[in-house]
């Protein structure tokens, strides 16, 4: 089986996997980074969102062979102490219900704020396309605004 070397959360990793293995399953099954969630496998729900070279990517669609020397950041590597402004805003707004989709939502929100530090409602709505079956969308929008107001920088 081919071997792949890349950087996850500032750590060099080396994995053996079939070339077509989605990064999602490499993270979850081989690197034990289970904060990145499986929800649909077809890039619809966004539960598997990670940062790839700083951009939000649905890891169910990124084959491990395409990662190359790129830098991968998962929810576990977003901040050292779990205190990224977006994580703090999520706790402050008490966003989660079941909580399953929230790591993907947070990764998507962090990427949005990096590009657009003060997004409008419309900009949030057109950028964040993740699915939450619990319907926490209203609080997600408010949490993004809260993080933005605190300078939700990386």
């Amino acid at each position: 089986m081919p071997k792949y070397n890349f950087t996850v959360n500032n750590r060099q990793v080396s994995v053996e996997a079939d070339a077509d293995t989605p990064l999602l399953w490499v993270l979850r099954d081989q690197l034990n980074l289970v904060g990145t969630k499986y929800g649909c496998g077809v890039a619809q729900c966004g539960a598997c969102t990670i940062h790839y070279n700083g951009s939000p990517v649905r890891s169910c669609q990124l084959p491990v062979s395409a990662v190359g020397t790129g830098k991968v950041v998962t929810i576990e590597g977003l901040s050292e102490k779990g205190d990224h402004p977006v994580q703090q805003a999520w706790v402050e707004m008490d966003v989660a219900q079941c909580g399953y989709c929230q790591s993907g939502q947070i990764m998507a929100a962090v990427a949005l704020l990096k590009k657009n530090p003060k997004p409008s409602d419309e900009e949030i709505d057109s950028t964040i396309t993740n699915i939450c079956r619990c319907g926490t969308n209203v609080r997600i929008r408010k949490a993004i605004h809260l993080a933005a107001s605190k300078g939700g920088k990386l």
């Binding site: 289970v34 969630k37 649909c40 496998g41 929810i75 219900q97 079941c98 619990c134 209203v138």
Partner: protein
């Protein structure tokens, strides 16, 4: 150990922990079992543990599925013990008969635990105070508990709960510990953030899907591709050649592929060559819809309820409204696709995974695998949504069978497609509503409901408010599995009822809010037959939502729809506001008024209602599942269309009617009235009635 009977069915038990500390727990046993219980050794798995170092642990009996139960239950004991809720650790209890029913469903967790947990907390407080008073040689009445300490008013001393715990466990348990006067509540009714919030936002392994154990294989299962098909034969030679695939086992009519990673298992499954055969009729949605219409055109079945003389009133009416409403099949689509861990070897089973019915799951595994229940352990993780799907134990039972067949620990992972094809679906159905109108009055009301599988209209509002009323239900036999889905039956009945109510109000040229109030006033003053609801509570939510949105003064360029419903002993009234953007409706704001007894966690309660609104709006606008020859046509998000941020109202404002009564349900009641409120707003904006869900079959949203 001391025991105290605090009610006919609940027995409070207090004991010392080996090595120090106190346990306070409840046993929900019958009265006759008391004597036996006193003689049996006391198990440490109880509700509250207080360690000598002051650490307090609540062992929560109910699985957390996103309804916030872990947080609410902590608040109840923290309130009665006078301790900071943040000092209390929560563990979800493994399955054990001593906890009573651990089922999560029917919006019942807080409802059923409200009083017992407060009693446990209050008892702990009284015993800690007694231990302190005894230590200081003062009267208990001269001491009080505050923030994790017992303080003496006279001696000017204080001792921590941890220091007192061991001694407290030996103090006699009082028979009737008074609960706190709600006027003194400092925690119940406030906003408390989810106790798992930090773990959630940092991606900690909280869920069943995150289970990783030594020697475990990942399994993906080929199940029949359509309802009505079964396994005939299979060839696994190509599958076994896939790198990482270790084993292939047949379980009932399915074939499981076990591999060293989920992806290898998925590829292995794709490489299976399987012949499926037809074992029963392969059903299609178009046939169901035709059958519903035929059922509803037949003479009345035996009615669920029949007040007055509907037929005579219809015959003498000046106008009869006669309309149909349609609702589709829905999948549960909880965000965490089904999964389960099982290790079944040597006549023992270790199980871990998401379920809403732990007892049922273990009983079924015991029966199907022929293992004594005593040899089965079941752990309950946090769950990525329930919505009723996990009221069936099939995911856990299947995993156990696979592990037994493969003789190794296994984590069975369902793909989203597996989840949607193998659901116990929300049944589709059709309603026929008739109303007799004469001299500007509603004289008679008839509601008939035909649905897939067994369904029955609830005997509830507006029954009791109308002189002539008939409720009828028809079942369509099917081999498509159906089951409870968030607010079962209510989620379709409210849509049809409250849309039709709006149609009647329009016909009578009455304001929709005033019309409901008029009916409820009649139900209160001159009820007809059985009254399943409290008209005053109903009126209270309608009046509150009207006040919240300033009903009657609609903002410019805005259209409103109103609806109200009663379910799980809670009352909800909602107003949806929409605006038209380039001819397309956009939902801008929603107002909700709720009567659910006393609110335990204001933040959690508000979140549940806001979530139910967004969830209900999304399904009303976009979501349906159809069948073609027994196979689900929509098998993943996308075709199975779902609400996203851009279709979410900018705000969902929630108001609670203040109440001194014990909590009633809240995980579900916010959902039923939202679809009709939206349909009624769409009528206000377009002049068209939207009588079938999802509405995107008939209109595009902005």
């Amino acid at each position: 150990m001391s025991t105290s009977s605090v009610s006919r069915r609940n027995f409070l038990r207090v004991s010392m922990i080996a090595g120090g500390g106190m346990l306070v727990g409840f046993s929900t046993l019958g009265k006759d079992e008391k004597a036996t219980m006193d003689e049996t050794p006391f198990s440490p798995n109880v509700y509250i543990k207080i360690a000598p170092d002051g650490k307090i642990t609540l062992v929560s009996p109910n699985p957390e599925i996103g309804q916030g139960v872990k947080t609410s239950l902590v608040m109840l004991i923290a309130e009665e013990m006078n301790v900071d809720w943040q000092k209390i650790q929560v563990e979800i209890a493994p399955l054990d008969a001593k906890y009573g029913s651990q089922t999560t469903g029917g919006s019942g967790a807080v409802r059923s635990r409200y009083t017992p947990l407060r009693q446990a907390g209050a008892t702990a407080r009284v015993l800690l105070i007694a231990a302190a008073a005894d230590t200081w040689g003062v009267a208990a009445a001269d001491c009080y508990a505050e923030n994790g300490f017992v303080v003496s008013k006279i001696a000017g001393k204080k001792l921590s709960f941890g220091e007192l715990a061991t001694k407290a466990a030996s103090m006699p348990v009082p028979a009737n510990v008074p609960l706190k006067d709600p006027k003194e509540f400092k925690i119940i009714g406030t906003r408390v953030k989810d106790v798992d919030a930090q773990a959630i936002v940092t991606g900690k392994p909280l869920f069943g899907i995150d289970t990783r154990r030594e020697g475990m294989l990942f399994a993906v299962v080929a199940r029949p591709p359509a309802h009505g098909k079964k396994l005939q034969s299979f060839d696994d030679s190509a599958a076994l050649k896939i790198t990482g695939v270790k084993k292939v086992v047949q379980v009932k009519s399915s074939v499981a592929v076990l591999a060293t990673s989920t992806w290898a298992a998925i590829k292995g499954r794709a490489a299976l060559k399987i012949n499926w055969e037809d074992a029963a009729k392969l059903e299609s949605t178009t046939d169901h819809d035709k059958a519903f219409r035929e059922l509803l055109s037949k003479p009345a079945a035996t009615p669920n309820r029949n007040d007055g003389d509907v037929d005579t009133a219809m015959a003498s009416a000046s106008k009869v409204l006669d309309v149909y409403y349609e609702v589709p099949v829905l999948s549960h689509a909880q965000m965490e696709p089904l999964n389960f861990y099982a290790d079944v070897r040597d006549g023992k089973a270790e199980l871990y995974g998401p379920t809403q019915v732990p007892q049922n799951l273990v009983a079924t595994v015991a029966r199907e695998l022929n293992i004594p229940p005593a040899n089965i352990t079941l752990g309950l993780p946090r769950q990525g949504g329930g919505f009723g799907r996990k009221l069936r134990p099939d995911n856990g039972v299947e995993a156990a069978l696979i592990s037994q067949a493969a003789q190794c620990p296994v984590q069975v992972q369902w793909t989203r497609e597996d989840d949607m094809q193998n659901d116990f679906y929300r049944a589709s159905g059709m309603f026929r509503f008739k109303a007799a109108v004469k001299d500007g009055n509603l004289e008679a009301w008839q509601q008939s409901f035909a649905c897939l599988g067994n369904g029955r209209s609830p005997d509830t509002y507006p029954a009791g408010a109308l002189k002539n009323l008939r409720i009828e239900s028809y079942s369509l036999p099917t081999n498509i599995p159906t089951g409870p889905w968030r607010a079962p039956t209510h989620n379709v009945q409210a849509f049809a009822n409250e849309c039709f109510m709006d149609e009647v109000a329009t016909e009578l040229k009455k304001d929709p809010v005033a019309f409901r109030l008029e009916l409820l006033k009649k139900a209160k003053e001159q009820p007809v037959g059985r009254l399943a609801y409290d008209p005053d509570k109903f009126i209270s939510v309608i009046e509150l939502v009207a006040k919240m949105c300033n009903w009657g003064k609609t903002p410019a360029n805005t259209y409103r729809g109103f609806s109200t419903w009663f379910s799980f002993n809670s009352y909800v009234a909602q107003v949806v506001e929409i605006q038209m953007e380039k001819g397309k409706p956009k939902i801008t704001k929603v107002y909700c008024a709720v009567h659910c007894g006393r609110v335990v966690n204001l933040s959690g309660a508000e979140n549940q209602v806001q979530g139910a609104v967004v969830d209900g709006l999304g399904h009303a606008m976009y979501t349906k599942l159809t069948f073609q020859n027994g196979a689900a046509v929509q098998t993943n998000f996308g075709p199975y269309n779902f609400v996203r941020m851009r279709n979410t109202p900018l705000d969902v404002v929630v108001g609670f009617v203040p109440s001194e009564e014990n909590p009633t349900g809240l995980g579900e009641p916010g959902l039923p009235p939202i679809a009709p409120a939206l349909a009624n707003a769409l009528f206000a904006a377009t002049g068209k009635r939207f009588r079938r869900m999802p509405f995107t079959d008939d209109i595009q949203f902005a």
